[in-house]
């Protein structure tokens, strides 16, 4: 639902980094988006294309690595991936976990620029 804002945030991060390093054109951007972030992949791709018009990242490819939800199960003492729609519950022993290990990411990882 906030894909446009996220796209603009990513663009800002890219522009800042590019300015610092004298980069004038960006061909691709790599990001990590967690399953709990509420980001819809296609909506973010669309927002990216619109947000980057007339910028150094115009026409660039946004590569989204989707990070699945991982919790830490205190009973099993290990990281587990809950089944979809079950909340934050261990799929093996059914213990609910308050600890989210992965799945909240909204990270700018890197950009690819002409060598």
């Amino acid at each position: 639902m906030h894909e446009v804002t996220v796209a603009l945030g990513l663009l800002e991060g890219i522009q800042t980094a590019a300015r610092e390093q004298g980069i004038e054109r960006v061909a691709a951007v790599n990001v990590r988006i967690g399953a709990l972030s509420g980001i819809v992949r296609d909506a973010l791709l669309f927002s990216w294309d619109v947000a980057t018009v007339d910028t150094i990242a115009a026409g660039s490819e946004l590569r989204i690595e989707e990070i699945p939800l991982i919790i830490f199960c205190e009973f099993c003492e290990g990281e587990r991936a809950p089944l979809p729609g079950t909340g934050l519950v261990c799929p093996e022993c059914a213990t609910p976990s308050p600890r989210i290990v992965r799945g909240r990411e909204m990270q700018l990882v890197s950009m690819e620029v002409p060598a």
Partner: protein, 225 residues
């Protein structure tokens, strides 16, 4: 075209989190208890806040910031309580962020509050991501919404400290299943505090006020700065 990879490594939430930390320090200095209220549209957020403001205003200085994408209706309703209320029109934004709170406070010219409510935009997805510098994040679940709502929006319930089950006066009529709702809440936030209430009949409101007053007392003993 030959490409090279440039590491950028930045968390998109860094800016908001830094601003929220500043707000939190400011609210600590002024001894203001800040309550961020999350819910779906139509869960009874405005009615509950109207009632909460009216009750608290008898003993404390209270105010509310109200986020709404388009209208000022909620702010107008809350203003009937007599408490100072300021609207934040978010336009296309589906949530409030720390920057919006800072700007609204700057343009408000109010002195300090004992309690400041922030009525977030009615939405359980985006607001869960944004720290507003609050002390207490509360999520509403009305008895008409479906008991599995916490499973659909785990982050909103996981990041809130208290769940308020609203419209409890019509629970029986709509076939609300208390045990199912409790199980869904436990599945995303084990041990989460839950209060049932009705802003219309007043049921459960004393317990809700007691939670706020206990928090307020705790806050007042935190040394400023």
């Amino acid at each position: 075209m030959k490409l090279r990879v440039v590491e950028v490594a930045a968390n998109l939430m860094v800016k908001n989190n830094a601003l929220a930390a500043k707000l939190r320090a400011r609210f600590a200095a002024s001894g203001t208890l800040v309550v961020n209220v999350l819910s779906s549209p139509g869960s009874g957020k405005t009615t509950l806040l109207e009632e909460s403001l009216t009750r608290l205003a008898r003993r404390y200085s209270v105010g509310a910031l109200v986020g709404d994408q388009a209208t000022a209706n909620d702010a107008e309703r809350l203003a009937r309580s007599g408490a100072p209320v300021r609207q934040i029109t978010t336009g296309s934004e589906c949530r409030l962020d720390a920057d919006m709170i800072a700007k609204a406070l700057a343009g408000w010219g109010q002195e300090r509050f004992d309690v400041l409510f922030i009525e977030n935009v009615g939405n359980l997805i985006c607001p869960a991501e944004y720290d507003l510098g609050e002390d207490l994040r509360v999520v509403l679940l009305s008895v008409t919404e479906g008991e599995d709502k916490p499973l659909k929006y785990p982050l909103a319930f996981n990041t809130s400290q208290l769940a308020l089950v609203t419209k409890i006066d019509i629970a029986e009529a709509v076939g609300y299943e208390r045990a199912a709702a409790k199980a869904a809440i436990e599945a995303v936030h084990p041990g989460m505090d839950v209060l049932e209430l009705s802003a219309r009949t007043g049921a459960g409101l004393d317990a809700w006020m007691a939670v706020l007053e206990a928090r307020l007392r705790a806050k007042a003993f935190v040394p400023a700065g």
